[in-house]
Amino acid sequence: MRVDDNARPTGQSEAVPDEGGQARKAASRGVVWRSPSALIGGVLVAFMVVLAIAGPLIWGEAAERIDAGAILQGTSAEHPLGTDNLGRDLLARVLVAGRYSLALALAATLIGAVLGTVLGALPSVLPRRGARLVTGLVNALVAFPGLLLAMFTAVIAGLGARGAVLGIGVAIAPGFARLTQTLAASVAGADYVAAARMLGVPRRRILARHILPNIAEPLILTLAQSLGGALLGLAGMSFLGLGVQPPDFDWGRLLFDGFARIYVHPEVALGPAALVALAGIGFNLLGDTLARAAARSSAGRQESARTEPPRAEGEPDPDAVLEVRDLTVSFPGDSTPVRGLSLTMAPGEIVGLVGESGSGKSLTAAAIGGLVPYPGTVTYGRLRLGGADIAGMSGKELGTALAMVFQDPMASLNPALRVGGQLSEVAVVHQGMSRADARRRAVDRLGHVHLPDPAKQAGQHPHELSGGMRQRAVIAMGLMGEPRLIIADEPTTALDVTVQRQILKLLREVVEETGAALLFISHDIAVVGELCDRVVVMYAGRVVEELPADRLAAGAAHPYTRALIASLPDLDTDRSRPLAGIPGTQPAPAQVGVGCAFAARCALATERCRTERPELVVHGPHRRVACWEVTS
């Protein structure tokens, strides 16, 4: 995958540790609530609630006071919105009508929501034939025009507020039913529902315990928006004369009464119309805001700040493809998933970065590619790619010099576009190629990664390819330019061993042919040992050992590296003995203490390990290790 300002890949596995993710979510939530639309929505809804509570108490009397001397007046100082046919003040009546209008809307929404949720949930409980019948009914209702459904119901249920509320409720129900059905279907396919079924949990309990709680959130969000819709619908019904009947009045009724006089005194109709509109807007904005606050990725990407870079000593290495000095990635809340990492890579070198989830290996890759998600902060003493500072490179330069391959090829490919088109776009955007040339190169590159019949495959959509073929296509995409560095983040984790073997072979071929360096990130030390020239082991954000890959089996020094190797079963493992494991868990990025981060899980740990952190020091040719027990 090319790094490109327009198409930042988001499919990073385990890139953000939990702490960072939560902080980010909290921060984005704050941003959502401070947006202008959220503020306007909040203020409008608050105003409506206050109006509904206080309106009748304050203006109730004024709204009912009949004044024979002031019938059907227009705007005056005494009556800003004029008066009605009994001389009652219309401003007071509009303000008082708020409570009734909002109460009716709330009732209609609740009726719609309950009816809809029940209808939508029924198919998950009923036997197959009944489920089909209900689904068909919902489909038919969704296709039926809402207002007609409302009027139809209102006419049957009888003229007046009750009929209108029922009508609007019935009109809202199909939308809720459809939503519930879709959401329930997606949860019903979850593994935990399958597990409950195997345990013999009855269907209605599965519905109540598993399905409904997991779909409640989007349903409640829709509820807020439906409230706005119901308000408008009820006003519409009253306006058509189907709703509230005198002497009761809501905004729709006032609008209906005022409409006859609109050519003489437009203000008498504008008052209620404005309030209906404001309330509708308010509830819709509030619903929008709730939905956005609930959505996981709401903040959008922002440039991660680079503050006070620590200066690196010495001259940059002119021969290195990648030179990283003191790279640190941190998130708000004292969470620092990458701590002062340094790494130098030579052309054509394959370096494996290995560690458990949460060790910071994926974030290291993200930081090199400028992909650390907001609100992460990246600092470094030096970060150079192909002899130039990455900070000074344009998106285009970085896009051709660096290629990235992620675990899930589907996340790097747009499912709606043909494979060939996506590849050629890279060359058109970054290298200024003509469409025809780019197309030819795309087919050539696809052939290069051994996709059979590349010209035909170029015309296919990503979903038509197998997992291994997709990953090949993503690698081909990286080869559209002339990358100096390829970063592959768990590229074979989602593939099975036979396909994994092929992709590893392909990556090696690509490196030999292009002379690019490859940074291969994996949690599987056996895969890393097989593919790479050099292995860098990370633990809790730091490099704990660096060694040639062929020394892994016999010459690993750090207790963590040794434990990783020992815990891996191979084809000669003694089956009569338990596998060696590593007791305990890796500390979270916010909880790494002063000493060696591995001390709590290490059999060799002494008091010194717990209080004083070992630096990464040279330990034999091409080897470095950070461990007191090994080096002293």
């Binding site: 036979t498 949690h523 599987d524 892994l552 016999a554």
Partner: protein
């Protein structure tokens, strides 16, 4: 337990094609094959989650542990509620701590939510839930596939201990032959919906009879040197 002439079809596509396998009591059958070979479909058929043709005899209660411990626990239920799901109410208070103990988790974890647990802990919870159904056969579908190597070892050890202590029969599925070899008594190799080789674990790994088994063996990543 015996699987006889089992086939699973999705529309016109045959995922599992006439498979016959025996799993004696207290025996672990390892099932290997690449993705699309039909091993997961076979697991789901045995667990009663997909319709099949053929006969399954001698396994009245089957429980399954799924690959992804992040998707197989209901995020809105506590560990205790999840583990106690298949247990009658009056026995729940005593059974849940016992099951958590079986999978070597502290009983205090019962009040926690899945999001507070690591991947390995979640997988143990999923195993405890399956054990709560008192299975005659436990189906484990790639249960270490999404775990770190350091955690994988502990979960594999646990599966072997459970077999030894409870005499549990198991259908253990993985695409990694080294993992299957460590846990299973016999290994069946699946390829394109059919079982192409079936025999004692050491024999399948040591003297593979089928070309596809040899290809699988060659693909297992190994450290050099």
């Amino acid at each position: 337990m015996r699987i006889e002439g089992l086939s699973v079809r999705y529309g016109g596509f045959t995922a599992v094609d006439d498979v016959t396998l025996d799993i004696p009591d207290g025996h672990v059958l390892g099932l290997v094959g690449e993705s699309g070979s039909g091993k997961s479909s076979l697991a789901r058929a045995v667990s009663g989650l997909v319709p099949y043709t053929g006969r399954i005899t001698g396994a009245p209660r089957v429980q399954m542990v799924f690959q992804d411990p992040y998707a197989s626990l209901d995020p809105r239920m506590t560990v205790g509620e999840t583990v106690g799901e298949g247990i009658v109410k009056r026995r729940r208070a005593t059974e849940v701590p016992r099951l958590l103990g079986l999978v070597q988790l502290p009983a205090e974890l019962a009040g926690r939510y899945p999001r507070e647990l690591s991947g390995g802990q979640r997988q143990r919870v999923a195993i405890a839930r399956a054990l709560g159904g008192e299975p005659a056969l436990l189906v484990a579908d790639e249960i270490t596939g999404s775990l770190d190597v350091s955690v994988q070892g502990a979960v594999l050890n646990l599966m072997r201990e459970l077999r030894d202590e409870l005499g549990l029969s198991m259908l253990f599925i993985s695409h990694n032959l080294a993992v299957v070899r460590y846990v299973a008594d016999t290994i069946a190799v699946m390829h394109r919906g059919r079982v192409v080789e079936h025999g004692p674990a050491e024999q399948v790994v040591g003297e593979p009879a089928h070309d596809y088994t040899r290809a699988l063996l060659a693909a297992v990543p190994r450290l050099r040197g």
